[in-house]
Symmetry: C2
Subunit: 423 residues, 2 copies
């Protein structure tokens, strides 16, 4: 622990000092650095693939899950698509120096609140080498120095990618030391990073729910929680069924593994008999396993659709696969009660033609995004037009919902006077 | 611990449910509730003073520090000024429902990011009964339910103030249960509050540095750190001395006990001999005890001003009284090095006529507010025109610098469609 603490402090201090070359760099100098990184990635494909091959050998020996092996694997095509991603970030609007508020006080003081970098940002992530580049350039573009802590199973890949990025920076005015790779041999380096309060300004976890949980629980450095999504679609008594059906199917089946997929369908009691038969048939037809309440089961039985009774655990489970809960509720307030008990404050949808019910649902939903007559799948940085997405914040402090580059900035007040003092 | 955890969970659930009457209330209904509270406070002065007298008796028996007794004491005048404060908050612009971003996507989806309440906010504070009302109404106006945990030494006063506020709310459409007083008999209730992640959305500490430290270190609920200010004034080689001198004196002596008071003066080496004699004389004349570096001591000796050599500890001490460190530096970068090592990222001032040096100082200062040719004392919500100030955030996440009502809100995306699904 002791040695890790010292090491992290050293890396953070080095990164912070180097970060000055970033905060004083112009927007075009930062963009230039990104383009230099993109080129350098393309120029070093074989070197990168060689190092990645070493990780792959270890992964196979260790019998890593095939899906994880696929995430670990780099190919010439994947490296080239990484480089393209870097160029896309370079084209985004500069998140720094945005003037958020500005005024001149009666005493002549000029006030300006502008966006500035956090400083030193730590990233903790799993065996996906693309995150090393992705996070590295997003932080660079937002003026932040980066402490990157990936998985030990990707250590050779991460090492070469950081080396290539540093070589690219060496050709610019920005110090290569703004990107630091944190050793991943032991877990002590993660612990030390999470406890480097004062040295590191922010830590962002990227990966599985358990990784995020661990970071949020353990960290004394401020973090941004991303992730868990138990999203609901509530079909109101005043719903247009022709709209409701595709929204349900899309919310559940378009990409079940992601956090903005729906897990639970709630239907107003007065339309249960008219709407549920078609909804259950459609879900069943799409291969969705159904966990339902007693009322829904009754209807399902009458149309020959297989279901099982939902347990308390079912209602608050993020399935990530083709399974869904279906329940009947007595209206907006009853739907909200259910959501408050079982949801994760991510995305909730209402399907209704009643503006009054939509407004009440919006006012009572305590979540990052409310969809009115639209699929839950739209809670997404790219869909919302942000360009790059760092993640979807599931917390209320600082950023909520999809986070673009702007979420990687804080603010400062610049107060300019001519000698004003307080009276 | 177990009992406290259950109690806090119950209070939080009750507050959250009651909070629905707040989130669905209009702006004028919330304002009306505040005005009702103001009236009720004035109508119950004698009852309030009676309860406060019980706290005062205990305080005297316990030999409480006179300054703390003064903070605990309520008078008819103080209650009336509390009520006035409540009316002022009622007049502030509504922090809820502000549209932060809005757009229509090519697929016809309408996106709107609006400000919404956090939900349930905990306040942890010391023996100042005015905070009970102050925090209660600021949270109410920003749509948040409040869990108020004051000091046990103010328990009678807090009890009566919360009762009076609840009686006022009972006359409105807002549920009195949006304000909950957390029992203060033991410290377990604080611990339980700080660990009520998921039940409580945010905890804000108000009070001494040690209270804030305890809350920030202990809490698993998100917090906003307020407080510590080791602020610097850097007098550049291109400073106008006539401006520099009043800024230094004002920053140090106008109200030394507050966080935006300056603790350290840094002077550019090339103007040390010309500027320091007048600066040291002025500070000495104002009764400021001086901790200095060797170069400054030499100059001080030559003009007969008493100083002591500053220790490492001096340079990073928030004195809060008439003591100040004075040192010589080699320029902007050297000043920034000193500040990075010893400062608290609160407020830093530069006095210079060089725009280039001011710009570099701004870019490299990693703080909530940078003053150019102005006193550090201007980092203040009221001075900056925010109206009520909840505190000065000393963190980078969510809010930085003086926090008004807006800082007590988070955001939600409202996405309105006509049946759009992801392709």
């Amino acid at each position: 622990m002791e040695a890790s603490t010292i090491l992290i402090a050293e890396l953070a201090d080095k990164a912070r000092r180097a970060g000055r070359t970033l905060t004083t760099a112009t927007s075009s100098e930062r963009k230039g650095a990104l383009l230099s990184i993109a080129t350098e990635l393309e120029n070093n494909v074989s070197k990168i693939l060689e190092s990645n091959a070493q990780d792959m050998v270890r992964a196979k020996t260790a019998d890593m899950h095939p899906q994880m092996q696929d995430r670990l694997l780099l190919t010439a095509e994947r490296v080239s698509s990484m480089a393209d991603g870097v160029r896309q970030v370079a084209e985004l609007p500069d998140p720094l120096g945005r003037v958020l508020r500005e005024s001149t006080l009666p005493n002549g003081l000029h006030l300006k609140q502008v966006s500035v970098p956090f400083g030193v940002v730590g990233m903790v992530y799993e065996a996906r080498p693309n995150v090393t580049v992705d996070a590295g350039v997003l932080l660079l573009m937002s003026g932040n120095a980066a402490l990157l802590r990936g998985s030990s199973s990707a250590s050779s890949s991460n090492q070469v990618l950081v080396t290539v990025m540093k070589e690219a920076l060496a050709k610019t005015k920005i110090s290569p030391e703004v990107i630091q790779l944190v050793p991943s041999e032991d877990r002590e380096s993660v612990r030390a990073l999470l406890h480097a309060r004062g040295k590191v300004d922010l830590v962002i976890p990227r990966g599985s729910a358990s990784l995020i949980r661990m970071v949020v629980d353990e960290s004394t450095v401020p973090t941004i929680e991303t992730g868990a999504g138990v999203c609901h679609v509530y079909v109101d008594e005043f719903a247009d069924f022709d709209i409701a059906l595709p929204i349900i199917i899309n919310s559940k089946t378009h990409r079940p593994s992601v956090c903005n997929a729906a897990e639970t369908l709630l239907v107003h009691r007065t339309i249960a008999d008219s709407f549920l038969p078609q909804a259950l048939k459609a879900l069943d037809g799409a291969g969705v396993i159904l966990h339902v309440d007693a009322k829904v089961q009754e209807i399902a039985k009458s149309i020959g659709v297989n279901t099982s009774l939902a347990t308390d655990e079912n209602w608050c489970t993020e399935y990530g696969i083709l399974e869904m809960n279906v329940g009947v509720v007595d209206g907006v307030d009853s739907a909200i009660d259910h959501i408050a008990k079982n949801g994760t404050n991510h995305t909730e949808a209402i399907v209704t033609q009643s503006q009054e019910n939509a407004d009440r649902f919006i006012a009572l939903s305590d979540c990052a995004a409310v969809m009115v007559n639209a699929s839950t799948r739209f809670t997404d940085g790219e869909q919302m037009g942000f360009g790059a997405e760092i993640g979807i914040s599931n917390q209320k402090l600082h950023a909520r919902g999809p986070m673009g580059l702007e979420a990687m900035t804080t603010t400062t007040w610049i107060v300019t006077g001519t000698g004003q003092i307080r009276r």
